[in-house]
């Protein structure tokens, strides 16, 4: 591999982070790109320069990259090009649970769907070869349970790095003019049969014919099914699917061998639909079970669900899940903003100035966890806070509108929205919560940090200059730990008769602690009257004990609670 580009997103972020640490004689160029569209285009450029390349992203990132993704299938590759798209069934940390196998099918490119880390490693090697063989991008689609699994994997030998590449001009293949696109579309369609043929014998599409009842299962569901077959000790026919386009010959052999078959896959019935269509041709009498009543179309599957679906098909006893423990005595442990997180301080000031009737479109990042503060009214997709705010204003809303998004989210998908708001005269306030990192996904650098993925110093873009250049009329930067200053700034933004931008800048507390920043200490004096105003600030460092507030060891010394306290009872401890 010569180049890897990606944008952080759970559960895909660790790929770039691991590759950056890779020590080799000629390490690949590894970058955090500004967003997924950019990452895929950078990877495509490298591929066209005869340099093997990959783009990494989470499933919703592929929506951002969908534009180049769809047309790259027409234009093809130079050296191998792999799109690693990590899906998140059950939305462990995502806004939806879309199934990227649909995208691969839509674009007409192969998709490899690993069941475990070992397969993911083998498939990655295979994906580059497949990409080069068929002159097409290939998708690798690990799900959360594959991305965040560990196991013993035989590492093997790393392939030799590719040599210095050259871009060969070839307009008929690289310029998607209508006159070029039409024949390229025909070519793409013509490739399908050959790709399908090649994947019939891929090691991840395996058919074992035994009894006249069968199971077809894909990805991690294949492992659950294998475990269930072993557990139930039945002679079942089994077709394991790991590579798409689907192996129609293997499926047909299965359908002709069995009288009843269950299709087990997470999320969408991608395999099931094809199986049903094929059955019409090869064995219309076979009974096909799947998403209707047996396998849920949403969420993650688990072993018990799969085992019980198979047992039910066989008329055997289902295993009852352990009775749920009564956890009503337990306090909830929701994830929350850290003690001293500057987002809390910014939101506190924002709410104080704009009031409870204002509209607060928000975005994707740690700050979405501040929903309880009343400043998160929407969360749609990366950067949508600004554009939704614009639409809400232009749609007729008369109340104050103050939207918010983080620095990385602004640079990823917010800049065009800000430009649009300026151009179309949306009178809104945009708050950029600048903690100088991509905190939610594990503190990756971004163009505002002046640091690349590999830790090299680079151009540090000025968010102030960007906001002004994109057309904001009022641009102010505040330190959210200084409450008075922040309140005044928000007031000016609220009163401003145009598009205003507040940049609330304070490093993420986790990063600050790691870099050795130590702040002041605070304690609550005897004069605390127990008014609980500080508790409403909901900082985990503030506890309530015997009618008085108390500052615990989590305190990072931001001092905002001292500014909020109604009786000035929270005071700095003299060192």
């Amino acid at each position: 591999m010569g180049l890897v580009a990606g944008y952080p997103g759970t559960p895909s972020s660790e790929i770039i982070e691991t590759l950056v640490e890779l020590k080799s004689e000629r390490p690949p160029h590894v970058e955090w790109s500004v967003n997924e569209k950019v990452a895929l285009e950078v990877a495509a450029g490298a591929s066209w320069t005869d340099c093997r390349a990959a783009a990494t992203m989470k499933h919703v990132g592929l929506n951002v990259a969908a534009d180049p993704f769809m047309t790259l299938a027409y234009l093809g590759v130079g050296a191998g090009l792999v799109v690693i798209c990590a899906d998140d069934p059950y939305c462990h940390s995502s806004q939806n649970e879309q199934d990227s196998r649909r995208y691969a099918q839509f674009a007409g490119i192969p998709c490899l769907d690993p069941a475990n880390p070992g397969e993911a490693k083998e498939m990655t090697v295979f994906a580059f070869e497949l990409s080069e063989k068929f002159n097409i991008p290939v998708m690798l689609r690990p799900t959360t349970r594959v991305s965040h699994a560990r196991e013993d994997v035989d590492m093997g030998q790393a392939a030799a790095p590719c040599g210095p590449g050259r871009f060969i001009k070839n307009p008929a293949r690289r310029v998607a003019l209508p006159s070029h696109a039409r024949p390229l579309h025909s070519e793409l369609l013509a490739k399908q049969a050959a790709m399908e043929e090649a994947l019939e014998s891929a090691p991840w599409n395996r058919l074992d014919l035994h009894g006249n009842v069968g199971i077809i299962a894909s990805g991690i569901a294949g492992l659950y099914a294998k475990e269930a077959i072993f557990d139930l000790d039945e002679e079942l026919s089994f077709l394991c699917i790991g590579a798409y386009p689907l192996p129609k010959k293997l499926i047909s052999r299965m359908l002709m061998h069995v009288s009843r078959v269950i299709v087990i896959e997470e999320l969408e019935p991608v395999v099931e639909e094809q199986v049903k269509m094929l059955a019409l041709k090869v064995n219309p009498h076979v009974e096909i079970l799947g998403k209707e009543g047996f396998i849920p179309r949403e969420g993650e599957l688990d072993y018990l669900q799969v085992r019980n679906a198979i047992a039910r098909m066989l008329g055997k006893a289902e295993r009852v899940a352990a009775k749920n423990a009564d956890v009503s005595c337990l306090p909830p442990r929701p994830p929350s903003l850290c003690a001293g997180c500057s987002h809390r301080a910014t939101y506190y000031a924002m709410r104080k100035v704009f009031g409870k009737n204002a509209i607060y479109p928000s975005d994707i990042g740690c700050y979405t966890m501040a929903m309880g503060m009343g400043t998160v009214d929407t969360c749609l997709c990366m950067g949508a806070s600004i554009t939704l705010a614009s639409g809400i204003r232009l749609g007729g809303e008369k109340e104050g509108i103050c939207c918010s998004l983080g620095d990385s989210t602004f640079l990823h998908g917010g800049m065009t929205g800000l430009l649009n708001a300026a151009y179309n005269k949306a009178r809104i306030t945009v708050t950029i919560l600048d903690n100088s990192t991509t905190a939610m996904t594990g503190h990756q650098p971004n163009p505002g940090t002046g640091m690349t993925a590999s830790g090299e110093v680079t151009t540090q873009v000025s968010i102030e200059a960007l906001a002004k250049a994109l057309g904001a009329g009022l641009v102010e930067t505040v330190d959210p730990y200084h409450l008075d200053e922040t309140l005044e700034s928000f007031q000016r933004a609220k009163d401003y008769p145009g598009l205003s931008v507040i940049i609330a800048r304070q490093p993420c507390v986790i990063k600050a602690r790691r870099s050795g920043i130590r702040r002041r200490s605070f304690q609550v004096g005897e004069d605390c009257i127990g008014c609980k105003i500080c508790l409403d600030f909901s900082c985990p460092a503030i506890e309530f004990e015997k009618d008085k507030a108390r500052i615990n060891a989590l305190c990072t010394g931001c001092g905002v609670c001292a500014a909020i306290c109604s009786t000035s009872a929270i005071r700095e401890v003299a060192r």
Binding site: R145, H148, E227, A322, C329, L330, P331, R333, P334, M369
Partner: protein, 195 residues
């Protein structure tokens, strides 16, 4: 029919070192030549949320332990033991650190943290054995409260099909040099609790 040699679920709160226990067991299993797999949910670990890890020794299937299937449940925090008790097999063992970590819902007065006995009682009804210890105090005795997870690892060692020697060898690979001694002590104190 059993589909793995030993299934365990390790739970706790972000920062307590759940993943380190799984990491050590994984390495020890590889040294012993046994297939091993694991998976975890850790996305919110740094934001005060729960962390859960599944580890399966001698297993060639999925890394996920099934409901009612855990031979051992290791809880680095008592409330988390009950929160994930559904995983415990009726014949399983639960190892609990009795030192609570209060969630913000409790410290700000919105929820109550139950007495530890109230947590342990329902656990006893769900499995064959509950072993409770103040692992945090034992770790402090060993030299650092941070080694609480290693105290629990020491207690766990007797319940998994891996030799103590290999576990200690794997532990030495993941712990920084300056904490080696404290961790060895912590391991021994945990082990002594179950003997």
């Amino acid at each position: 029919m059993r589909t793995s040699e030993c299934d365990m679920v390790i739970v706790g709160v972000g920062g307590q070192g759940v993943i380190l226990i799984s990491d050590v067991i994984g390495r020890a299993a590889v040294m012993a030549g046994k297939p091993v797999c694991g998976a975890e949910t850790h996305g919110m670990a740094q934001r005060g949320g729960s962390v859960i890890n599944h580890t399966r020794i001698g297993c060639r299937f999925s890394p996920m332990v099934t409901s009612g299937g855990a031979d051992v449940l290791v809880a680095l925090e008592p409330a988390e033991a009950l929160r994930f008790a559904d995983f415990l097999s009726p014949t399983g063992v639960v190892l609990v650190n009795t030192r609570p970590v209060l969630p913000s819902t409790v410290t700000c007065g919105k929820a109550r943290y139950p007495p530890v006995q109230e947590i342990l009682a329902p656990l006893k009804a769900r499995c064959s054995k509950v072993i409770a210890m103040d692992a945090t105090a034992l770790a402090e005795k060993a030299g650092t409260a941070q080694a609480m997870n290693v105290v629990m690892l020491g207690a766990l060692a007797g319940y998994i099909p891996l030799s103590e020697e290999l576990i200690l060898q794997a532990l030495s690979l993941v712990v920084p040099q300056r904490f080696q001694e404290a961790n060895k002590k912590a391991f021994a104190l945990g082990k002594a609790e179950v003997e």
